[in-house]
């Protein structure tokens, strides 16, 4: 445990229980002194967080209310204060800013909807596989599965660029089985339309009619419904592949914390393996599941580096994400105020999604003894996970 936090851990001093929490009033002096020491010990972390997280967030919030081009001081009375205009142009006014935000939200929604379930399912499967006691070469498999997560994402992206070229390795493999692969990173078509076209429902041109004429946030419905583009699918594939190792490790740690007796008892009661999985393992893994999906959700909503390397929003803005849009507004267009506003819209989305997901994954029904075990199981992997994720 002591390795999981880099700075002096507050619980070791401040959190140590006194004689009893109720004797608080009696020994206020000593307790107060303890509190002071506590603050002293956590101060490096608090200072660090305050200076490099809280303060910049406050500053960015201020900048998002300005029309700031990055070439003057935003913290003087001369700054061009525009109130909520940056948010209005993003959310309410018909224009390029809103269309771009809508496009990036569309892209990122599909990215999240596909990546999070896939990476959770894959990493859980991998964890269950390498958790088998009978399996030979377990540690080698664990290392292999974890490997993509250790590799730098920029390096992986570059390799993917070559693999998914029009005449790259992937398309050559597909060629052997008689499939003509698309030019992955240059294909802006939405997969939904591609599939419908393959099924012969629609023909080559973009769908017209009702879907093309009606818009939501400046983007036609035909664009909203198009699904991720072919290029985006490769990004999803890449994300699932690189993150599954980390999440496998989290699941694995949790699985090893589930007492063996539970499974044996279930087996004695005549439960088949899939029943054990459904009724014993998965409920015990619920807190970890929450952790993994939350981390996945936050990371996928903030995806930036892959987009930056793999085409900066190309083809045809179908890999544009809010995080990259915010960057591009700031650094390519010298509209830092607008960029900051986008990042706060993104923050709101992440908070909202995490809240929704908390409600969905909350434990229903009466308290069961299993719950307590689940809590314990959560303890170790969670801290490890936060570190691994950083």
């Amino acid at each position: 445990m002591s390795t999981s936090t880099g700075t002096p851990a507050p619980p070791s001093t401040a959190g140590r229980p006194g004689p009893s929490p109720r004797s608080r009033f009696a020994s206020r002096g000593t307790r107060g002194r303890e509190g002071l020491w506590g603050w002293l010990f956590v101060s490096p972390m608090v200072l660090g967080l305050g200076l490099f997280m809280a303060l910049p967030i406050v500053m960015a919030a201020w900048v998002s209310l300005l029309n700031w081009d990055g070439q003057s001081n935003p913290f003087t009375p001369d700054a061009d204060f525009v109130g909520l205009a940056n948010y209005r142009s993003l959310l309410a006014e018909d224009g390029l800013a809103r269309t771009l935000l809508a496009t990036s939200l569309r892209n990122n929604t599909y990215y999240v909807l596909l990546t999070v379930p896939l990476q959770t399912a894959l990493s859980l499967t991998l964890a269950i596989v390498v958790n088998q006691r009978m399996l030979r070469g377990r540690s080698m498999l664990r290392t292999t599965f974890y490997f993509p997560s250790v590799t730098s994402s920029i390096a992986v992206c570059t390799v993917f660029l070559f693999l998914f070229q029009g005449s790259g390795a992937v398309n050559q493999l597909l060629g052997y089985v008689g499939v003509k692969g698309p030019n992955w990173f240059a294909d802006p078509r939405g997969v939904l339309w591609v599939l419908l076209e393959a099924a012969g429902v629609i023909d080559g041109e973009k769908p017209g009619g009702f879907l093309a004429e009606h818009r939501l946030m400046g983007l036609p419905w035909s664009e909203w419904l198009a699904g991720p583009s072919v290029a985006m699918c490769t990004l999803i594939l890449l994300a699932v592949w690189t993150t599954s190792g980390t999440f496998m490790l989290i699941f694995l740690a949790a699985l090893q914390n589930i007492p063996r007796e539970l499974e044996e008892a279930a087996a004695l009661d005549g439960a088949a393996r899939r029943h054990v999985l459904r009724h014993v393992l998965l409920p015990a893994l619920r807190p970890v599941m929450f952790l993994v999906t939350t981390l996945g959700l936050i990371a996928t909503w903030q995806v930036f580096d892959q987009v930056y390397v793999l085409g900066q929003g190309d083809p045809a803005n179908t890999t544009l994400t809010p995080a990259f849009l915010s960057y591009s507004y700031g650094f390519d267009n010298a509209e830092f105020g607008q960029g900051a506003a986008i990042s706060f819209v993104l923050l709101a989305i992440v908070l909202l999604m995490t809240g929704v997901q908390r409600v969905l994954l909350r434990e229903r029904g009466s308290r069961r003894p299993r719950r307590a075990r689940g809590r314990q199981a959560q303890d170790t992997p969670e801290k490890g996970a936060v570190r691994a994720h950083d």
Partner: protein, 415 residues
Amino acid sequence: MFRRSAVAVTACAVLAATTTACSSGFDKNENGPEQDTGKGQSLRVLVAVSGDAETKAVKKATAAWEKKSGHKVTVQLAKDIDQQLAQAFAGNRPPDAFYVNSDQFANYAKGGSLYAYGEKVPDKEDFAPQLRKAFTHKGELVCLPKDFSTLGLVVNTEKWKEAGLSEKDYPDTWDELEKTAAKLTKGKTAGLVTTNEYQRLGVFMKQAGGWITDSSESKMTADSKENAEGLGFAKKLLRSGSMKYAKQVDTGWAGEALGKGRAAMIIEGNWLAGAMKQDFPDVDYKVLPLPEGPAGKGTLAFSNCWGVAKESTHQKAAVDLVRHLTSAKEQLASSDAIGVMPSRESVMDEFAKEHPESAGWAEGDAYAQSPVTVPGFTKVLDQFNSDLQSLSTGKPATILSTLQRNGEQALKKGD
């Protein structure tokens, strides 16, 4: 609780103090910082080069100036110059002299980051008028164009012969271009390859008699019939399969496609000469003027300018350095190294004489369209470029009316 509020107050005080400290770097004098007038000043120069040849040329030229002036110059190569400059301006420590991309020029000039030295240069009239126009902000020439490039039609001579074509078949009109492109498309080779950006496809708009804005850049003219005709022609070529975007033939840009034999013809500018020498020295090519459209000839002009920072303490020395770098002699030297043309009219003839192979590009000097430099236009044109990506399935008129709407909005905001 007393203590908790005390902590909160302290935290707020610390935050406030740091905010002030952070922003103190911005304290600007109305007339810029106090100038260093001493001898042996040390200047920082930030450049975004196309390759080793350009790095060498810049370093050689600055070294010559160091000797002449007695000052010192540190040349820094940028990885991503737009981002690096944005950071330097925000951090208030910009380099003294730097390349300014034409699509970022307006943003920097409007933000007051550039020292407008152009009017003080005695021989400014010598620089090509369309480039001077591009780097003028509020009626004032801000910075001197570094060099000059135009677009031409470049053909791979080997593919040309393979298809049984001769010099007489060089296309002069759209019709001929369409026919030869179709003839040259064979197997893995596309007849014509270019990139999906207005900086290339815009030539068709120009040749049809249109352009994105009016000549004073105060009004959008994107949704004109002429522009639709130009893009319509490009769409026709794309749909027939005889024109392809560089990415569709697995290359990063058209020059690579030409070198690798995936393209028989490409639309590219002067920088191609340097790149071909370095990457594909054995590939033979010929540069032609772009074919005529219904409204005659048309091509686009490109240039960077040499910006001097308003916040520099070495403005005088930096301007002197820039004047040295843009002198006729230095420009001709960098023409030899990287293939770009000089931005001075007086040495254009000499360039044409020394580089007959670049005649197709040099000719464009007479009718080239200068780049769009309107503040806040970067994202509008980016959006136009990504719409052009799906030109083969989209409608030119729709793409252009989106451009018109976005551009009008940006123009209104930019005032």
